[in-house]
């Protein structure tokens, strides 16, 4: 107990936990829209496509400031999204194939650039790789402040465009017919999702970022049919697993933060799939049993 209190008051822990919780909230909210629009895996694609952006930003500016590197990531992530969308639009290639192709090609480009920087005479480039796997423990207070600012901006935009996003996620055709531009809404929403992914890169890395986007939303979806409740729950689930994951990885040695957070959030998801009222698997089994008994009581044949 004492160690726990010691840990909770630890400055590094507080910073990392704050960062992870913020990430959980942001990705939970934006992930809800991605999942509802059946673009869950876009996060996977964008996060892989961010790698060349990080390296290009470093090559051009020579700076390793998180903000500049993430700006590069944002640019390549966005251009990958636009390329994927135009491939789907102008050819018969399906979304998933376009996504798989573009993300792996961008990642390849990232590796090429990364090996290129490694040949540079100074060892200044070390540390770029932390974006592949993510290192929550390297989060500094200014990173957390940046995450908070971005988070507030993102959430404000979501609140402002709430009605439009809701309509567009559930019924894009209807949204178009009553005069909202589907193209613009799509771009705004994709931009927000990409931004959320980029924010998470530093904490959980490119591979695991997709889970942060999808898992909280899928878990929250099981508990409610109302959008606002789903979004709030997703944010809560994301934040909780961020804090719990950080707690575990600080309490035990050699426990990487990103993967532990992902295990936490997936556990919540599996629990929700099993036990959620009305939709959950157990509830469904119970309903089937109940129906069978009632059928028999009403004089039905023995099944």
């Amino acid at each position: 107990m004492e160690t726990l209190i010691l840990l909770l008051t630890d400055y590094t822990f507080q910073t990392v936990a704050m960062g992870s919780a913020l990430l959980g909230i942001i990705s939970g909210v934006l992930g809800s829209f991605a999942v509802l629009r059946r673009q869950s895996l876009l996060g996977d694609g964008v996060s892989h496509a961010a790698l060349p952006g990080v390296v290009i930003a470093f090559l051009l500016t020579g700076s390793k400031d998180t903000e500049i590197l993430l700006l590069g990531a944002l640019l390549t992530g966005l251009s990958a999204t636009l390329i994927i969308m135009s491939i789907v639009r102008y050819s018969r290639i399906k979304f998933d194939s376009a996504l798989a192709l573009i993300m792996s090609v961008f990642f390849g480009l990232g590796l090429v650039l990364l090996t290129y920087t490694q040949r540079m005479p100074n060892a200044h480039q070390a540390g770029l790789k932390r974006f592949i796997y993510g290192q929550a423990s390297t989060l500094l207070q200014r990173d957390v402040v940046m995450m908070a600012v971005c988070g507030i901006v993102l959430l404000t935009v979501v609140v402002l465009f709430w009605k439009e996003f809701k309509l567009y996620s559930f019924n894009p055709e209807f949204a178009e017919t009553i005069g909202f531009s589907g193209k613009i809404l799509n771009i705004i929403l994709s931009l927000l999702v990409v931004l959320a992914i980029i924010i998470g890169l530093q904490t959980v890395g490119v591979v695991l970022m997709s889970a942060m986007l999808i898992a909280p939303a899928v878990a929250a979806r099981q508990w409610s049919n109302r959008l606002w409740l789903m979004v709030v729950l997703a944010a809560v689930f994301g934040a909780v697993s961020g804090v719990v994951g950080t707690l575990f990885s600080s309490a035990f040695v050699k426990l990487p933060t990103g993967p532990v957070i992902v295990v936490c959030i997936t556990t919540i998801t599996i629990f929700s799939l099993l036990f959620a009222p009305n939709r959950g698997i157990l509830h469904r089994i119970y309903l089937r049993r109940k129906n069978r008994v009632q059928f028999k009581l009403n004089g039905g044949a023995n099944l």
């Binding site: 996977d44 290639i93 399906k94 798989a100 090609v105 997936t266 939709r279």
Partner: protein, 372 residues
Amino acid sequence: MNADFEIQLIAVLVSVACALPGVFLVLRKMSMMSDSITHTILLGIVLAFFMTHDLNSPYLIIGAALMGVITVWLTETLTKTRLLSEDSAIGVVFPLLFSIAIILITRYAGSVHLDTDSVLLGELAFAPFDRMILFGRDIGAKAIYTSGILLVLNITLISIFFKELKIASFDPLLAAVLGFSPVILHYGLMTLVSLTAVGAFEAVGSVLVVAFMIGPPVTAYLLTDSLKTMLFLSAIFGALSGILGYHIAYLLDVSIAGSMAVMTGIIFAMIFIFSSKRGLIGVLIRKNRNRKEYAQTTLLLHVCNHQNGPNAREENGINSIAEHLHWEQNKLEKTIYYLLRSENIRLENGLIVATPLGIKKVENEKIKLFGN
């Protein structure tokens, strides 16, 4: 054999071996499953390593392939509950398994050479250092043999089961009716994909396996409607990106696997933009032409409908027609210009009048649109 040649040979063997099963992944809309499998095989390798404590044990390959199939099974079981969509299921399953693998590696395997880097990223340049020794003689790099076997296996299985795979990919219901179990074929294919991923990741890293599995087939898909041609073209594109990628990597002194992946992307972009039938330029030109023709027909129809009516001056007047068509001035001017040039209309003191040629054209269009 010198190292340069060996690396190119491995590059070609691996990329062709990946491209062949990839064709079926693309056709069955399962491209992202390859991404999922290439990540989770890491867990299979780690678990098998803990059991055997030997990095060269064949059980590692079996463990990895098995984990690939388990991934597919888990994803499909989740999808079948219908509580989440298939892509969400993929996005929940593979990060979980991958996270477990990373946790296991960092916690227990710190002392051995089993790091996420080599699995995720791979390095082809080191492949020739790992030699195959048979009866005390050096008979070439090991990776040549593993990727060679992989390629032969893929070619053999795909040619034996070509008919079955074809039917099951395009019409699973028909396949079931004819008595082939789509489930067995499906899992057979997934085992093949996992095996290929396992065989290839050492050379090129698991993320880039996806590029070689999906890139060439998607490119070929733009060019052909025949499955055989698609397989053939994919193999060619795969081999091409292997060789070109190697040379570019050699020139710039960068990651070989990475530049091979970039090459698949460049080849795709070339075909996507310039291919004559389905290329971007072709599609854009066609769209533009259709739009122009549609505008001309619409205007002509409108003019013909009203030119003998009582409101002809209002409806067909050059200053008022834009309002009736709900068109912007710019579009109207262009359309009138084209129609004047093809002599379908003429202007008579501020009024648009269809010429006999234009009237004939409208009649033809009407027959096309509404029948006789």
